[in-house]
């Protein structure tokens, strides 16, 4: 009986189950895997991806798409490499402002002009990437050491600030979606925009707000990245977009919006951030990562499609 319950829980929280299985297997099979050093590496790669994924998840829940997240992070890294050396506080504020501005443009274009979010954010992504390359054609600039130390602040080899940020973002995202009115509105708009209009929700405002949140989170992710890579490079956030979309869909969020749990997406992010260290530690070419992430992306939707069809069939 208890076993059955455990089984059911592990199915509901499948991303965590997979993560734990993989993690235990790695610790057992690969010597030197379960060291503080590895944790720190994983955490460092995880933190920016985590923030970006939270933003992407919110946007996808409203039934839209944000392709500009990775490029916003990249642009933030580039801008930070110019500004942080002048004045850290002002630089950080300006970087966040960039996120707000891009989010506003995205939201405005999607809701007020009626351009599909896919095209809008593809356009802004193109512009932002071009801008980042224009400002820094080759890696350069200096991130001040004090900021780098701040981001990489360690206690016994463990990067505590990154951990705190991940924790805050995780709990914050869960709280926002589960416990606040705004979270419920996001789900309502994602399920059916016309019905949410009938109960008096302003989908326009909610969507613009969600795009702004996504922009700001990407900018924060960019700030963290700038502390991690310590140089202004125009390809800093290149893998973030694909991985964040993969994490959101692997976490069971429907691409049409309105359904999905952020808690499970967190597990998916953990799982995806395990791929790179796993490949490099087992001696595979880490560039397999792209192939694996792509396969997970397609596979997760194939699976969720199959499951929902089965569920619907059962209801009939």
């Amino acid at each position: 009986m208890k076993l059955k319950k455990l089984f059911r829980i592990s199915i509901t929280w499948y991303t965590y189950t997979l993560f734990i299985i993989l993690f235990v297997a790695c610790s057992a099979l690969i010597p030197g895997f379960s060291s503080v050093n590895t944790f720190s590496t994983i955490l460092t790669a995880l933190a920016p991806l985590f923030l970006v994924t939270l933003g992407e998840n919110l946007v996808i829940l409203t039934g839209e798409f944000d392709l500009s997240v990775g490029s916003v992070a990249t642009l933030t890294v580039v801008i930070a490499s110019f500004l942080l050396i002048e004045n850290i506080l002002l630089g950080i504020l300006l970087c966040l402002a960039v996120g707000v501005i891009i989010g506003t443009i995205n939201g405005f274009s999607v809701t007020k002009l009626g351009v599909p979010s896919f095209i809008t954010t593809l356009g802004t992504m193109t512009i932002i990437t071009g801008l980042a390359f224009h400002l820094r054609p080759v890696p350069g600039g200096i991130i001040p050491q004090s900021f780098v130390d701040f981001v990489k602040f360690e206690v016994g080899g463990f990067r505590i600030l990154l951990f705190l940020i991940v924790l805050v973002a995780g709990v914050g995202g869960w709280f926002l979606l589960r416990k606040t009115d705004f979270g419920k509105k996001i789900y309502a708009v994602g399920r059916s925009e016309s019905k949410s209009f009938l109960i008096g929700l302003r989908a326009t405002r909610i969507k613009i707000f969600v795009f702004i949140i996504s922009g700001v989170l990407s900018a924060i992710a960019g700030l963290l990245l700038s502390g991690i890579v310590t140089v202004g490079t125009p390809i800093a956030g290149s893998g973030l977009l694909f991985k964040s979309i993969t994490a959101v869909l692997l976490g069971g969020t429907l691409i049409s919006g309105g359904e999905g749990k952020f808690e499970i997406t967190i597990g998916a992010v953990l799982l995806i951030s395990l791929i790179w260290p796993l490949l490099s530690l087992t001696g595979f070419d880490p560039r397999y990562e792209n192939v694996i992430v792509g396969s997970i992306l397609i596979g997760s939707v194939v699976l969720s499609n199959a499951l929902t069809r089965k569920k619907k069939g059962g209801e009939r």
């Binding site: 896919f118 512009i127 801008l131 792209n290 396969s295 397609i298 939707v301």
Partner: protein
């Protein structure tokens, strides 16, 4: 005055044609090399390759889907074909093989989108990641030379018109009549404007979607062969264009040409105009000395402006 501008935006394509006409006039007066045989040849060659990809993208977009894997397909073709040349396979077998690779990718995309109901964004994005990963693993960073005959074929010209431009013209006339006069063309537009209704009228959406993605795959494969003949070796980025960016450029060309995701607007001439616009602007910016990837700022801006104009025009 404002009203006048608005009505002009309504016919945004005429504005586009006018703007491009003015750009050509001004640059041929100011830049002595603009109307030289070599420059015209370069422009037409770039147009031919971009148009090839964009036609496939246009047909996919007309049917309400998107193909993000075209860039990956081109890269795949340019990596695989030189390998075949090395193993002494004759050139007349290599060129069709490029197309077959395209068909292969298209078929997989079509089956997953049509049969398994995976959203095309997810499917083709995943496919893109997988293809890029595969290319890196096969050795995309190694520059392998392609068959010299292919290079002469692509650089062959009549006057200033490249041979491949005639191939493009033949393809475009063929596609124009397919879209206009064949039942396939009507089906594509019908699915794009209302998939549910067209399913109810008895269209076989599965086979239709597979056909559409195969067409896009073939055209991307053909573009890959041409690109390889242009660059002369397998390369991730050469000349002024990174392989991956054909994905962005093809979507931009289609969208600037006024093809929208719903309702079967747009067609072959519009897309050609869109591709021509992009190539002209890129060439102009290159002469003005802008970094290759910074030019994407301008491309994104133009794309967003025209998308907004098209959508405003349609709302009226």
């Amino acid at each position: 005055m404002i009203k006048h501008v608005r009505t002009m935006l309504g016919s945004s394509l005429r504005v586009l044609a006018l703007l491009i006409g003015i750009t050509w006039l001004v640059s041929s007066i100011l830049l002595p090399a603009w109307l030289s045989t070599q420059h015209l040849f370069t422009i037409l060659r770039a147009v031919s390759i971009l148009c090839m990809v964009s036609f496939g993208q246009m047909i996919v977009i007309l049917s309400g889907e998107i193909d993000l894997s075209v860039g990956g397909t081109i890269y795949f073709v340019t990596v695989i074909l030189p390998l075949l040349t090395r193993s002494q396979i004759p050139v007349w077998a290599i060129i069709p093989f490029g197309l077959i690779l395209g068909v292969l990718v298209g078929t997989v995309n079509g089956i997953f989108v049509g049969k398994l109901k995976i959203p095309s964004i997810v499917q083709t994005l995943g496919m893109h990641l997988i293809l890029m990963g595969l290319c890196w693993l096969i050795g995309g960073s190694i520059h392998r030379r392609c068959d010299p005959f292919l290079i002469t074929l692509v650089s062959m010209k009549i006057g200033f018109i490249p041979l491949i431009f005639f191939i493009l013209l033949a393809v475009s006339i063929f596609l124009f009549f397919i879209l206009r006069n064949s039942s396939l063309g009507w089906k594509i537009r019908a699915v794009g404007s209302n998939p549910e209704a067209s399913r109810l009228t008895g269209l076989n959406l599965v086979s239709l979607r597979i056909t559409i993605f195969i067409i896009s795959g073939i055209l991307a494969g053909a573009a890959g062969v041409m690109y390889l003949g242009w660059i002369g070796r397998s390369a991730y980025g050469a000349g002024n264009i990174l392989v991956e960016e054909y994905m962005l450029q093809s979507i931009a060309a289609v969208i600037i040409g006024g093809t929208t995701f719903k309702g079967g607007r747009g067609g072959v001439p519009q897309t050609m105009l869109g591709a021509f616009t992009l190539v002209t602007i890129f060439s102009l910016l290159r002469i003005l000395g802008m970094e290759p990837r910074s030019r994407y700022m301008i491309m994104g801006l133009i794309m967003l402006i025209f998308v907004a104009a098209h959508f405003r025009a349609r709302r009226r």
